[in-house]
Amino acid sequence: MAFTAPNELSSALNAFMANRSSTTVAPADPGTLSSSTSVYKMSGCAVLFTPVVSTLVSIEVVGIMGNDTASDNTLVQIAYGTGSAPAKNGAAAGTQIGSIVTLPTAGTTKSSFTCVANIVAVPGTTYWFDLATKAVTGGNAILQNLTFVASEY
């Protein structure tokens, strides 16, 4: 890590601010997953992001969630990791982090949702981001119209 002299601090800070990167990705709709009750599975979004200068990364995911069965609920949480991104319906992988969202009312009425998380990352390392999803009581989780926003801050 290079030494920053006091008289270089202002320009170094400006460079840090200017070089922070971000990405906004709308992955293909996962649609209806093959959920197992009370077991998290992956959604196969495979959103990739490589921070450039900062170790702090925030992730927001917005979309629509649901369950295909009356009175059953769905839980959704952000997951991330390195290496190969998990496929749709794959077993839980990576690290789950941040808010866990549920349907406001269990059942087949879909709801918009937002998940947020912050992670400590290594600049220059590529991370995958996905949603870990599980059905509550039964049924199959539904995810659609997803947008991932990952940004260094």
């Binding site: 890590m1 290079a2 460079a15 840090f16 702090l56 808010s99 969202v101 709801s111 947020v116 998380a117």
Partner: protein, 153 residues
């Protein structure tokens, strides 16, 4: 933030990576005794003291439900200093950020709520953060599964 001597400045990142962030689950406050068109407090009783930045990025996620269908509610983040307000207290503090409108229709009385705001703060001052809520045309509002996500930016 403590004094940083010139010989302690190894990089700008060393100053910036230690900015705190926090995601906290709030116990369900219970059903409000709402007054139509009058904001009251939800009683999250969440407190945070910034230590490095004078700017906070705060997001509150939750589910909301009306006990009378088709009545609806408005929800907005608010904050202040001193003793945090309790459930059903009269409005206090400063409202910031988006007003989430649960404009219920066709008997759907639940929504996933996303409220977000940027808040100017004084370092080392303790702030409370809460939701303010009002019914749009009657009924009482309940908030569940509340997450407060805060980061110093």
């Amino acid at each position: 933030m403590g004094f940083i001597a010139p010989n302690e400045i190894s990089s700008t990142n060393s100053l910036l990576i230690s900015r705190p962030y926090l995601i906290k689950t709030i116990p369900d406050p219970g059903e409000m005794a709402s007054s139509t068109v009058v904001y009251r407090m939800v009683g999250c009783r969440f407190k945070y003291t910034p230590v490095m930045s004078t700017t906070l990025d705060i997001t509150v996620l939750c589910n909301t439900q009306q006990d009378i269908p088709n009545t609806g509610s408005n929800t907005q983040i608010c904050y202040g200093t001193g003793t945090p307000p309790a459930l059903n207290d009269t409005f206090t503090g400063t409202q910031v950020g988006n007003i989430f409108v649960n404009a219920t229709a066709a008997g759907i009385d639940t929504q996933h709520v996303t409220c977000t705001a940027i808040v100017p703060v004084v370092i080392n001052t303790s702030y409370w953060f809460d939701l303010s809520s009002k019914s749009r045309s009657g009924g009482n509002t309940t908030y569940t599964n509340i997450y407060i996500c805060i980061k110093e930016i």
